[in-house]
Amino acid sequence: MSDDIVLETRGLTKHYGGVHALNDANFTLKKGEHVAIMGDNGAGKSTFVRQITGVEQRTRGDIFFYGEPVSFGGPLDAREAGIETVFQTLALADDLDVPDNLFLGREKTKFDWLGPFRLLDYKAMRKATIDGLEKTAVKIPNIRNTIRNMSGGQRQCVAIARTATFHSRLTIMDEPTAALGVQETAQVENIVRTLKEAGEPLILVSHNMRQVFDLVDRIVVFRRGRICANLRKEDTDGQDVVAYITGAKTQEGYEDAA
């Protein structure tokens, strides 16, 4: 296995009882690469993401993260290993402000000998937050505002800014712009470009063809729980991808998905 592979799955399989949600998924992601996962509803995209991030336990198969075989017991393990996920349902605390949310569960503290009553280092957290926001070009004028009072785009940006603040080793976004308006989508896409420039690897689950062709290097298509195509952006176009998604075409080497 070469050194520049961030994530590799071999024969990754997930069955929910008799339902084969994911079958034999072989997937690789290289350093600095942005890959899109596309496919119809129920094609296995989110199932695939949930196995990698430890939200669910796989039925079979192996996952390698930077060459090491991994088996995450839960999303926390994955996060500790450096996989930062932006879920469809945002995991933000509505009544807290931006720095609080970015640092939730990993606060910067002083006087650690006080145990649960150790003091929060608000100053350091605010500074790191502003650095992170500037790095990702996220526009949130007032970081002391609670999440409750923010637009959907700003919330999404806060969730994404976490990845920049903590130097994650892999970012996974599950439909980050599904619920956003045009301008907000543009803002999120800009953040993704910033991550690309910074050389941070990314897996993007998306339905939006234009967005995918704008942002990523490679497109992996899922159909009925199997990977049915692995396309470099230069070698394909929208028509082609739709043909793979709907089942009109199947790429060589993936015939068993048909």
């Binding site: 509505d94 609080d100 606060e107 503290t109 929060l120 004028p141 009072n149 543009a186």
Partner: protein, 360 residues
Amino acid sequence: MADATQGTGGLTFDARKRAWPNELNIFFALILIIFAFEAAGQLLPYMKGQSFLFDTRDRFDSIFNEARLRIIILQVAIIGIIALGVTQVIISGGIDLSSGPLVGATAMIVMSFAQTELVNGGPNPKAVFGDWAFDLPLIIPLIVGLSFGAFIGAINGSLIAYTRIPPFIATLGMFLICRGIAQAWTRGQPVSFPTESYSLIGKGMMPVYLFIALAILFHFILKYTVYGKHTYAIGSNEDAARMSGINVKRHKVLVYMIASMLAAFAAIVLSSKNLTAQSGMGIFYELYAIAMAVIGGVSLTGGRGSIIGTVLGAMVFGVIQSGFTYIKLDAFYQLMAMGGIIIGAVVLDKVRQERAAMRS
């Protein structure tokens, strides 16, 4: 398009700007209520122009009616100590109904360890234990009381966190259990005649000083420590808190333990102030404490509220109670009016929240 959103566009981040604090609204409400009673004193014919708080007949060197102020603060202080704990429980998304009976049970138990041997030259007529339990150093009843509170709180918290039964049910069960303990402890007999050192805890204005000290302590803890931040986070979005690596279960146990220890401390202060403990002590206290928190802007859905709010809520509570007596409202109607005010406070908060949600 890319240019318009590229970079922060010269936007400067403001790390200081804050929203209008809800506590100020409650403070203004408090002022308003005081003046409403003041006006009632002037307008109601049978009041003969008496003043509510600005009566200087008793003390000419002060603009306040200090006697009434003192009564208001003293009335509020002990339930206020309970409300400090209840505030934390509600912020974490729970509720604690067991604090009132816990006051009764703790008072009975603690007083049994705080009795003095000789009463008016004769043996203590209310002795619970044998000779060994007389005239123990003050630290013993304090430790016994706080440990009992911590124990009950740990059961509450563990039930809620690990068996996932609703906090309402868990603490309702504990409500009955604690009242039962209070009654069974001496089979309904009061426990009296504490040592002199014990009687100092609740003497004079001590309850007020203790309330203020604890309020400052817990204001600081909720605002500036990890414990406080996680309490808000759990009440705000429990799943997000769990995903962020917070040990939600352990934290909940800790929150309920602290709340019950505060209630137990309130029992110590109350029994010391009254120089006796009765199994019926603390009736309705749990509801009054919840009311203080709710009037103070603590949201029953969790995630929002503050100690300052609860202290102001306690003051509103005390002023209204005292005001009703002052305008000679019949005690039977007082409860009804109090209930109406609590419902009104929650409705007002709800309306305000929905307006805020509309704006954004």
